[in-house]
């Protein structure tokens, strides 16, 4: 087979130019900061709050996605109902819809006079321009991750293991808890991690609905943008480095998860 040297060379060059060098530039920039400066930036109240809002709400949203995603997958894979194919396709909308469009749409939907905002306001619940709004946007953006990672695994799950559990006397509930969920666990955790990673870094769909009040509803990516516009590059870099490192840790964890899942597949 010809072309290994050429294609590999081009791949590495292009990868370096577009991805690796720019990312390395970010880390290099952060090295210009003394550890003390770095620490001062991160431990400032506003930075800490922004990180707390981003990571905390992203984790909460990913958990909601884990639960609701599982329910959606179960309905799509196990049941037949009118509109199933359409709902199946709709799951990908948050992937495909530009984030700015999602942002303005969710804001208008949950604003005080919006379709859902109005009835919620009547109940005394305010969503838009509060941390709840951020939470809602992060749920929206994370839906496809859990569904699309778990769906193929549930589809391929051997029906015989459920029959085996039943014929051994397990109730339906015991079968789900002891047999099905553990079989789906790697996929569920992968979906959770991907949804979390996406929500942490999410910008477009969040900033419209967030309210962007410092220390309350300001997400970390927005703080980076604000610091940039103030020409406080050091601050922007420090926050970005923290977020990047967390992303890398998540990728690493997901890779390990996938390997773990593969090892449990019997070699028939």
């Amino acid at each position: 087979m010809p072309g290994f040297g050429l294609t590999m060379g081009l791949t590495l060059t292009w990868l370096s130019v577009i991805i690796l060098i720019p990312l390395a530039g970010l880390f290099l920039k952060s090295l210009e900061l003394s550890p003390e400066q770095f620490w001062n930036i991160l431990s400032s109240r506003r930075t800490l709050n922004a990180l707390r809002v981003s990571f905390g709400l992203a984790f909460a949203a990913a958990c909601v996605n884990l639960v609701m995603g599982s329910i959606i997958v179960w309905a799509l894979v196990r049941y037949r109902f009118p509109g199933r194919r359409i709902f199946d396709a709709i799951v990908d909308v948050p992937f495909a819809l530009p984030t700015a469009v999602a942002g303005v749409a969710l804001t208008a939907l949950f604003a005080e006079k919006g379709w859902l905002g109005a009835p919620l306001a009547a109940l005394g619940i305010k969503v838009a321009f509060t941390p709840v709004g951020i939470f809602v946007a992060m749920i929206f953006i994370g839906i496809p991750f859990v569904v699309r990672t778990v769906q193929p695994v549930l589809q391929d799950l051997d029906p015989e293991i459920e029959e085996a559990a039943g014929s051994l006397g397990a109730s339906r509930w015991q079968t789900i808890i002891r047999v099905i969920l553990p079989s789906l666990a790697p996929a569920l955790l992968t979906g959770l991690a991907l949804a979390f990673a996406r929500a942490v870094g999410e910008y477009g769909s969040v900033i419209f609905i967030a309210g962007n009040l410092p220390n309350v509803s300001e997400i970390a990516p927005l703080l980076i943008v604000i610091r940039l516009s103030e020409f406080r590059y050091a601050d922007a870099t420090a926050i970005a480095v923290v977020m990047l490192v967390v992303s890398f840790v998540i990728i690493f964890a997901v890779n390990r998860l996938q390997r773990w899942a593969q090892n449990r597949i019997p070699a028939r």
């Binding site: 085996a164 039943g166 397990a170 553990p182 449990r264 019997p266």
Partner: protein
């Protein structure tokens, strides 16, 4: 425990998987359901286990109406073709599963469960694998763990779906013998499904031959081999020569040639003549019911397998003992030592 099945009917869409099946299994039997794929044998097994429900008919286990119970209540041990081991559980936990999911009121304490699992792993001779995971086992080991898991619930009956189907030939032979001796040891009424006649004849004490959702014959391995009840059984079990013949007025004809074969009690009309390959005795030309020319000879240990073109035009394969060597081009006479003629 006895199993009784009455007039079972099961249809999948337009496909009739079971078409009126009656069967009685005595306590302690090891019964084989033998048939080609699509014959309904697995469907029958799944209905007895409670994994499927029939459209009509009855299933009685020990005289009780089993169809009123789900699989959970039936206490039937089922070994799946691909074992269906829980891959996230160790071998030990797989075997313990049935004991751990029992209702709290009857669930045994941890020590008893451990002891019981140990006993079962000893029984299948795999106690040293307790901490492994299914993906680390060989096919034969998985098969035996699946069996131990099914036995853990002290099943009233044991059902095995193609128990050796996914194994290679050597392991398969070992496990056959092992299964028979295990059955002898635990003596649970057992049914296993297979499409492999050798397996059925070697392991089971009774064989049920099925085809197209119906039972063709029930009998001991000797019965089904020596006195096949139908043309299907004769063709399916053992290697047979099959010739289309006509019976007219007590005479059997192959083409327009009358054969010197007794046709007492046979209905006139198109029929099929079956002879085992090794039941075709070779003689000089003119002797016997058939005559033909040897086309081709190969030696298989104690027998020589010859392709013979009969004078009627059909080509058959016979197994003749060594001693009188056949040669391509020989003209020989053939006399069936035993034969069966089935109408239709």
């Amino acid at each position: 425990m006895t199993i009784e099945v009455k007039n079972l009917v099961k249809q999948f869409g337009s496909f009739k998987a079971l078409d009126g099946v009656d069967l009685k299994v005595d306590s302690g039997e090891l019964l084989a359901l033998l048939g080609p794929s699509g014959s309904g044998k697995t469907t029958l097994l799944r209905i007895v286990a409670g994994l499927d429900w029939p459209d009509a008919g009855e299933v009685l286990i020990n005289g009780e109406d089993a169809l009123a119970q789900g699989a959970r209540e039936r206490h039937v041990g089922f070994v799946f073709q691909h074992y269906a081991l829980f891959r996230h559980m160790s071998v030990f936990e797989n075997v313990a599963f049935g004991l751990r999911v029992q209702p709290r009121a009857v669930r045994k304490d941890e020590a008893t469960i451990r002891r019981r699992v140990k006993e079962l792993l000893d029984l299948v001779q795999l106690d040293w694998l307790a901490d492994r995971y299914p993906s680390q086992l060989s096919g034969g080991q998985r098969q035996r763990i699946a069996l131990a898991r099914a036995l853990a619930i002290e099943p009233r009956i044991l059902l095995l779906d193609e128990p050796f189907g996914a194994l290679d030939a050597k392991v398969r032979k070992e496990l056959r013998r092992w299964l028979r001796s295990l059955h002898h040891e635990i003596n649970v009424t057992s049914i296993f499904v297979t499409h492999d006649q050798e397996e059925a004849l070697e392991v089971a004490n009774r064989v049920v031959v099925m085809d197209k959702g119906r039972i063709e014959q029930i009998g001991s391995p000797d019965d089904v081999y020596e006195t096949p009840a139908t043309a299907f059984v004769h063709g399916f079990i053992g290697e047979s020569i099959e010739l289309p013949v006509r019976v007219e007025g007590g005479v059997v004809r192959l083409g327009d040639r009358p054969l010197n074969l007794a046709a007492d009690g046979l209905v006139s009309g198109a029929s099929r003549l079956f002879v085992r390959r090794h039941d075709m005795l070779v003689g000089p030309p003119g002797s016997g019911a058939f005559e033909g020319a040897v086309r081709h000879v190969r030696n298989f240990g104690p027998v020589q397998r010859a392709e013979v073109a009969l004078s009627g035009g059909e080509t058959i394969e016979i197994d003749a003992p060594r001693g009188r060597e056949l040669r391509a081009g020989d003209t020989i006479g053939l006399e069936p030592r035993r034969y069966r003629i089935f109408t239709g």
